[in-house]
């Protein structure tokens, strides 16, 4: 033995580390699973130029021109015309509840003005809560309309087809007229931060007891699974409430994010969201054997939550399968609710379509958590 550097000892350490790495199957799986997940999500699901955006068309002047405009929008890959209506109010409501990102309004006397040689207005209202999502589509509208009308502008109207744009496209950016990115990102961060901290906090709830050997003691006492769960989750509800208050305060006073809607409604839905996340964390803690595994599983939940929820990348830019996964995640719904309440002033009626999926998620996650809980050490 000598006191100097020993390659043999390095090899001894290496050998031991490789053996231990191989034993921890979950970590190894995560090391392979997480890169693959990221590759697939970024590679396939993320699209910075969203297409197939839900669009409602309100037609106050039906006729061949409006047909052509609707057809031109529908044929472009940017817009999916989900509804044609004759009521501008209905179109506005669809924007408010998020079932459409754009409302195109063909006003009364549109055909008459066009035929007369005037330049009628085509009103486009865009949901600008997420400024990035709609910008490419908006930019494409004037061109689409001109091209679409070209076939109709024949005979005496032919001269209009190639001249200056026959229609004046007026764009209204609703809810966030100045396209301020912070208005979108800061409320979104509320959802993201809660997802990260809440799931992480409860994911080690039982895992830590198990690691320290106190789990056996807990089971030997007359505590019931549901009592243990409520006891573990409740303190974190307070933590989550405090975090929400902190983030909203900073959002209001530092970033000047508008808060149009009801604070009570926001607080209530935030509670549902927080509890749903805690149920996920608790389920993880019934599975994870040690705290490291709990952290990894938390990350595995966190990653699709931020990527597929519409937080960073436009939700409607993703392919259908990615949107479906996104719809399962509570954060997707919570983001819509927060942005809806803060920026649009949504009320209960508008946000309900995003509230019940969170409640359903909470119920399912809670049931799994309680059922996964073993009363014995088997």
């Amino acid at each position: 033995m000598n006191g100097g550097f020993s390659l043999a000892r390095v090899f001894a350490m290496l050998g031991k580390e490789f053996i231990q790495m191989r034993r921890d199957r979950l970590t190894l799986g995560m090391l392979i699973g997480i890169p693959l997940m990221q590759l697939f999500l970024f590679g396939f699901a993320i699209n910075m130029v969203p297409r197939h955006l839900a669009t409602v068309v309100s037609i106050s002047d039906p006729g061949p021109f409006s047909d052509s405009i609707v057809a031109a929008l529908a044929n472009s890959s940017y817009f999916d015309v989900v509804k044609a209506t004759n009521s501008p109010q209905e179109a506005r409501r669809m924007l408010a509840d998020g079932s459409a990102s754009f409302a195109v309004e063909i006003p009364a006397n549109f055909s008459r003005d066009l035929v007369r040689g005037a330049t009628p207005e085509l009103l486009v209202e865009a949901d600008a809560t997420d400024p990035a999502a709609g910008s490419y589509a908006l930019a494409a509208i004037p061109n689409l309309v001109s091209t679409g009308l070209r076939n109709d502008l024949k005979g005496p109207l032919a001269s209009r087809a190639f001249a200056a744009p026959p229609v004046n496209v007026v764009v209204h950016q609703l809810y966030n007229p100045e396209n301020i990115t912070q208005y979108n990102i800061v409320p979104g961060l509320l959802g993201v931060i809660l997802t990260m901290t809440m799931v992480m906090a409860t994911s080690i709830a039982l895992t830590r007891e198990r690691e320290r050997g106190t789990y056996e003691n807990l089971l030997a006492m007359p505590t019931r699974p549901v009592e243990i769960m409520i006891g573990k989750i409740t303190p974190n509800i307070f933590v989550g409430a405090f975090q929400s208050a902190l983030i909203l305060t900073v959002a209001k006073f530092v970033f000047h994010v508008p808060m149009i809607g009801s604070f009570g409604l926001l607080a209530t839905t935030a509670m549902i969201y927080i509890t749903a996340l805690l149920a996920v964390g608790y389920t993880i803690s019934t599975v994870a054997q040690n705290q490291m595994q709990a952290m990894q599983m938390t990350f595995f939940f966190f990653l699709p939550s931020i990527m597929l929820s519409g937080f960073i990348f436009p939700f409607h830019g993703m392919p259908q399968w990615a949107q479906w996964i996104g719809e399962v995640m509570p954060i997707t719904h919570f983001l819509r609710i927060v942005r809806g309440i803060l920026l649009k002033g949504d009320g209960f009626g508008e946000i309900w379509p995003d509230v019940w999926p969170m409640i359903l998620f909470l119920f399912v996650a809670g049931t799994i958590a309680v059922r996964r809980f073993r009363r014995t050490l088997d």
């Binding site: 320290r212 050997g213 106190t214 056996e216 014995t376």
Partner: protein, 309 residues
């Protein structure tokens, strides 16, 4: 209910882990108020048996009662009246001594909680250290705290899983005094241990190996049942002798007790024959002794295939 019923009365207790049978069809009947020792090599199924008795593991087979409750279907009731002390300290190291006791008292819904905790702290002599974190206690104190905590709800049955492992002799002695005191109050105790002196303090001993009970009874019964004959060899050359005697016909095992070599077997004639060549050696003193409990346990362990994995 009769007054002389068994606190533990189970038959055919069986548990498999995968293909391995941890506990194989064992029967245990412990009369109320007795202290029973549970012995056997590591991995023989002691912990598994104890865990099944208090409902922490589901038995694959078996029937019977603990404290008059069906041990398979009424584990909630059993838990309320049983104190279970785990092998590893399993109270919360990041709670203070007092907070641990408080928590236990509250979970069991004990009346007059404050007074009870105060009284327990006084009895433990931990009053002045009640705000110290449990994790800062030494091994002996942790074990005393654990015993106090798992008897706080005045259980009728105590299941102790190697409670004195790693504890100094003085603390072990105090611990056993406490157990005898509890037993005197009518509490039934099943305690697993590796220490012979502790085994000798028990009313009855059950020896388990590879999940099977291979011996049971009082200390003298177990020694008598073994049919063992033991010779002693003392002297300076005894150390060299061990290797030579091992494997000779009739020699079942050879073990040192201090400086004295114990040579044990079942057949006195064969043993005499094996020892004959050394009788003349002036440096050796050969005698005969009653086999000790340890001799019997070593023999049981050798007979059943040694330590389990």
């Amino acid at each position: 209910m009769s007054t002389h019923q068994n606190a533990i009365d189970v038959r055919g207790l069986t548990k498999h882990f995968g293909k391995k049978t941890a506990v194989n069809n064992i029967d245990i009947a412990v009369p109320e108020g007795q202290v029973w020792g549970f012995l056997g090599p590591n991995g023989s199924g002691k912990t598994t048996t104890i865990r099944m008795l208090c409902g922490l593991l589901n038995a694959d087979a078996g029937e019977g009662t603990c404290l008059g409750y069906d041990f398979r279907s009424q584990s909630e009731q059993i838990k309320r009246e049983t104190g279970y002390m785990t092998q590893r300290f399993s109270f919360w190291e990041d709670l203070s001594i007092r907070e641990n006791l408080d928590f236990v008292a509250e979970v069991y819904g004990l009346p007059r909680r404050r007074a009870l905790v105060k009284q327990t702290l006084e009895k433990l002599g931990l009053e002045s250290r009640q705000n110290q974190l449990a994790g800062e206690l030494s091994g002996g104190w942790k074990q005393r705290l654990a015993l106090a905590a798992c008897t706080l709800h005045s259980p009728k049955l105590l299941l102790l899983d190697e409670p004195t492992a790693g504890v100094d002799p003085k603390a072990r002695r105090d611990f056993w005094d406490e157990i005898h005191m509890l037993s005197g109050q009518g509490i039934t105790v099943l305690v697993s241990t590796h220490y012979m002196d502790e085994a000798e303090r028990c009313d009855r001993i059950v020896y388990i190996s590879y999940g099977d009970i291979v011996a049971r009874g009082t200390v003298s019964e177990i020694i008598a049942q073994s049919g063992l004959v033991t010779f002693t060899i003392a002297g300076d050359d005894a150390r060299q002798l061990a290797g030579r005697l091992r494997g000779l016909p009739g020699v079942v095992f050879v073990a040192f007790f201090g400086a004295v070599l114990h040579v044990s077997g079942y057949d006195r004639t064969l043993l005499e024959k094996a020892l004959a060549p050394y009788r003349a050696d002036p440096g050796l003193t050969i005698g005969e002794t009653t086999p000790s409990l340890e001799d019997v346990f070593i023999q049981l362990q050798e007979k059943t295939g040694g330590a389990n994995v």
